[in-house]
Amino acid sequence: MRYPPYRVITEGFIRQATAAGAEIHLVDGSAGLVDRVTSLLGDAGAGSASNEFAVCAAASVEGIGPLAGLLAAVPGVRFDVTRETASHAAVGITSADWGVAQTGTLVCDSTAATQRLASTLPLIHIALLPSGRIVPDMAAALSHLDPQKARFIAAITGPSRTADIERVLTIGVHGPKRLVILIVQDGNAGDPRP
């Protein structure tokens, strides 16, 4: 199969994910990531001057490296993801393995329960997607994952939603009300910006 140029795929992903109700930010390297996470947490009322906090289930991001040291500088980020911490956290941070351009979907190996806790319980989910990991369609994303190893594959498109009362679209039923996708540039895949 011939895929369109990478820039076009990335634009498609951004367009479709936005249409599905996700918020997208492009971040440059580790400094950009720290800045963005800090400001998102600040907006969410989490940080040094508050009891609100974020749980982070992502250990590292492709092209940037381990996060523990990096995000330790951000006030209110915790790495101990348990039922208790996640159900009280305002924000959950996870990695995402693949982005699907056709539908704006994140595909994640969520075999680790911490990935699921951080992406299901808090009202805000921040997903860190390496910029080189966007593929055209679901088939391409799933071809990179072996279900025998990835025991729980989670495909996430936009925030939690329902239309069960009078078909009125309402966001944030049981899962996150906000899905924020940070496309983290690793400096090698070229500039994905439109």
Partner: protein, 711 residues
């Protein structure tokens, strides 16, 4: 009045139900069409049909492979044959672990086995966590729609249900109500001992189950409790991991017009619990007659269903009466079929009778299931088992005796005099009143077309057509028969009219009596084979479909080799009026009046059998345009008018509600005229306009064209 008829009347009188379902059906079509943009729907549904029918043919092999693979990945898989067995298994798992509390995400299979009742009787608390299912659980009802279980509830009703549950005074603010559900159910998720789900797909190759949700509840149900039980109908099996793709493409688009649901979870064996232990995962493969269905030459097709609900969403009847009337656990068209198997044939007797056989659902089904044909098969088996009601049997016997039937029609033409006036019967006495509620019936013509025909001199031409009139044109609208002959003669086609032709058998075919339909077919095959001709022409799409499709099928089943051969020859030559005449016109064989400003504006109604059975859509429009008419396209032009042959007599209240909708759409065009290619639709719509005092002229396309032939 039967309970079933009462339930129909109640549903039709419920303003919330029909208006919310109707609004949804309108929004659904637009949303679905947008979601399928850029997708080759035919290709996707062919793939799904291939892969699911392959699975249905190999259920045992796939179940075996699935079991091996899922068990190798740490799941416990059990295959159960009855709903009771399934419930007992779940109960045993719950008892072994001392479970007191269960959270569930939406599962039709668990509804099918009535799991909640079993668990609650055992003293276990069960919470449905899908918002719609929770509403229904609090209301002690069953889902009225497979995808939108609480679509029949208003925000006010939800507010009072939630207020009672929480002991709070809640307003009917929808985001507020959703927030209450989040809060109330969150503690249940965190404290539950067991999570129960269904599955949208089960993959034999990998032992995976696939769950599609929007709310995120299935993610919590499968993550937070230490035990997860998935109840999976055997028909959810597919062979390969790759088979997920076409289903993932079609299911959300067909169900809700989404490109994909917010969440798709693919679970393969025991993933990690939140305390690091492996999940106690149980997968219950539910048979409940599915293997029996798979072995049935007709009904195995129903196992292709992916439960998207599109057959509900596009059904002109479902949107009026909803799933509490049109279905049991499974609702709508597919529900009428599944109920006959998962419950009992008897349980579907009333439900299947709601189908008007318009064929719309078949066009939309992403699994390519011929739902109307399967419902007809349910109907056939119901009547085969129980026998036809005496009156219906007597009626088919009369119809199949041509001399008696035609004599009866002639007698009726005289007998109707006291109630007929101006070509209409507006009121009938006694038990027959419902036939004229909301529509005037046409009077039977004083002279049938078969008496007129010998007086129309036939020109010598190089081509000959046998005209198959059908009962309505012959005995009710003979003028339309004259129009057909006039137009064909003008185009250089000589017409012959075999006098032995009789009813095409469609009433029996759609009424559950294929044997009676076959007898009618044989009489007509004899009558039509006696003449040689280039074409067999009918101006009734139902008759055309009978000649072209049903006769060969019925003869394959009930006829001799000679009759099979003759049926095929007739089928090949059979043409509907508009397609044939449009073809002749495009060859320059018709000359139309060239006056200005032309013939005026007409709306056009697509008859069900012309559009969906015969696939004829553009030809009548092109023909009318060529003859000088301007077509004013109407909303839902291809939605059934409610006639449905005998349907409007068996289900008068439903047919009338369908007709009302059609009349509203006709009025909205502002066109002074309406054209259609079906004399049954003419009967229904003209009668409706007359009864409602709507000043729109309703005529058959053949009459419109005959008017425009240059002298």
């Amino acid at each position: 009045m039967s309970d079933f008829v009462k339930s129909i009347d109640r549903a039709l009188a419920d303003p919330v139900l029909s208006s919310s379902l109707t609004r949804f059906s309108e929004a659904y079509r637009t949303g679905r069409a947008r979601a399928f943009e850029g997708i080759d729907f035919e290709a996707v549904r062919t793939q799904i049909a291939e892969r699911k029918s392959h699975a249905a043919r190999n259920l045992d092999v796939l179940a075996e492979r699935f079991t091996q693979q899922a068990q190798a990945a740490g799941a416990k898989v059990t295959r159960v044959s009855t709903p009771v067995d399934a419930c007992q298994y779940v109960l045993a798992v719950a008892n072994q672990s001392g479970a007191r509390s269960i959270v569930k995400s939406k599962s039709m299979a668990s509804e099918e086995i009535h799991l909640n009742a079993t668990l609650e009787k055992a003293g276990i608390e069960v919470a449905e966590t899908d918002l719609g299912e929770w509403i229904i659980q609090l209301a002690h009802e069953r889902p009225s729609h497979m995808v939108l279980p609480a679509i029949h509830k208003t925000r006010g009703q939800v507010a009072s249900l939630f207020s009672r549950q929480t002991n709070e005074e809640l307003t009917d603010d929808i985001p507020g109500l959703v927030a209450v559900a989040r809060r109330e159910l969150r503690s249940r998720f965190l404290s539950a001992d067991i999570g129960i789900t269904g599955a949208n797909i089960a993959v034999a190759e990998t032992g995976s189950i696939v769950l599609l949700t929007n709310e995120g509840n299935a993610r919590l149900v499968t993550t937070l409790p230490r035990t997860h039980i998935a109840i999976v109908g055997l028909e959810k099996l597919v062979e390969r991991f790759d088979d997920i793709q076409p289903i993932l493409t079609a299911l959300p688009r067909s169900a809700t017009g989404q490109l994909i649901t917010s969440y798709v979870s693919i679970i393969t064996g025991a993933a990690e619990n939140t305390d690091g232990t492996p999940k106690d995962l149980h997968i219950v493969l539910l048979d409940n007659r599915r293997t029996e269905m798979a072995a049935d030459p007709v009904f195995s097709e129903a196992l292709q269903c992916i439960r998207c609900g599109s057959c509900l969403n596009v059904c002109p009847i479902f949107r009026l009466v909803g799933g509490h009337v049109f279905g049991k656990v499974y609702t709508g068209g597919i529900g009428a079929i599944l109920t006959a198997w998962f419950d009992a044939l008897e349980e579907s007797r009333d439900i299947q009778s709601l189908c008007v056989q318009c064929g719309t659902c078949k066009d939309f089904c992403p699994a390519n299931i011929d739902i109307p044909a399967l419902i007809r098969e349910v109907r056939d088996r119901v009547t085969h088992r129980d026998g036809l009601p005496f009156l219906q049997r007597a009626a088919y016997a009369v119809v199949n005796n041509r001399r008696l039937f035609h004599a009866a029609l002639r007698a009726a033409s005289i007998a109707q005099k006291p109630v007929a006036g101006g070509g209409f019967i507006r009121h009938l006495p006694f038990a027959l009143t419902s036939m004229t509620e909301g529509r005037s019936l046409p009077a039977i013509a004083s002279r049938p077309f078969r008496d007129d025909f010998p007086e129309i001199p036939q020109p010598e031409c190089t081509e000959t057509a046998i005209f198959y009139a059908g009962c309505l044109i012959d005995f009710v609208y003979p003028e339309t028969g004259a129009s057909v002959v006039k137009v064909l003669n003008h185009a250089g086609v000589r017409v012959v009219f075999p006098m032995e032709q009789t009813c095409c058998g469609a009433p029996a075919r759609y009424g559950g009596s294929p044997e009676a339909a076959a007898d009618a077919a044989k009489a007509n095959i004899d009558a039509l084979s006696a003449q040689s001709a280039d074409y067999v022409v009918s101006a009734c799409p139902t008759c055309t479909a009978a000649l072209k499709i049903d006769f060969p099928e019925l003869m394959d089943k009930f006829g001799t080799p000679d009759q099979q051969q003759s049926a095929r020859i007739i089928a090949e030559k059979t043409r509907d009026f508009s397609s044939l005449v449009q073809q002749l016109a495009s060859q320059g064989r018709l000359k139309f009046k060239q006056d200005s400003p032309g013939a005026g504006v007409t709306a056009y109604h697509d008859s069900c059998h012309l559009k969906r059975t015969l696939g004829v859509v553009n030809q009548p429009r092109e023909l009318l345009s060529a003859a000088g008419y301007e077509i004013s396209e109407m909303a839902e032009s291809d939605t059934c008018c409610g006639m449905g042959g005998a349907y409007s007599i068996k289900m008068p209240a439903v047919a009338r509600a369908v007709l009302d909708r059609k009349l509203t759409n006709i009025k909205a065009t502002g066109a002074p005229e309406l054209s259609t290619d079906c004399p049954g639709c003419v009967l229904q719509i003209r009668g409706g306009c007359d009864a409602a005092g709507i000043d729109v002229g309703v005529r058959h396309t053949a009459d419109r064209i005959a008017d425009r032939i240059a002298d």
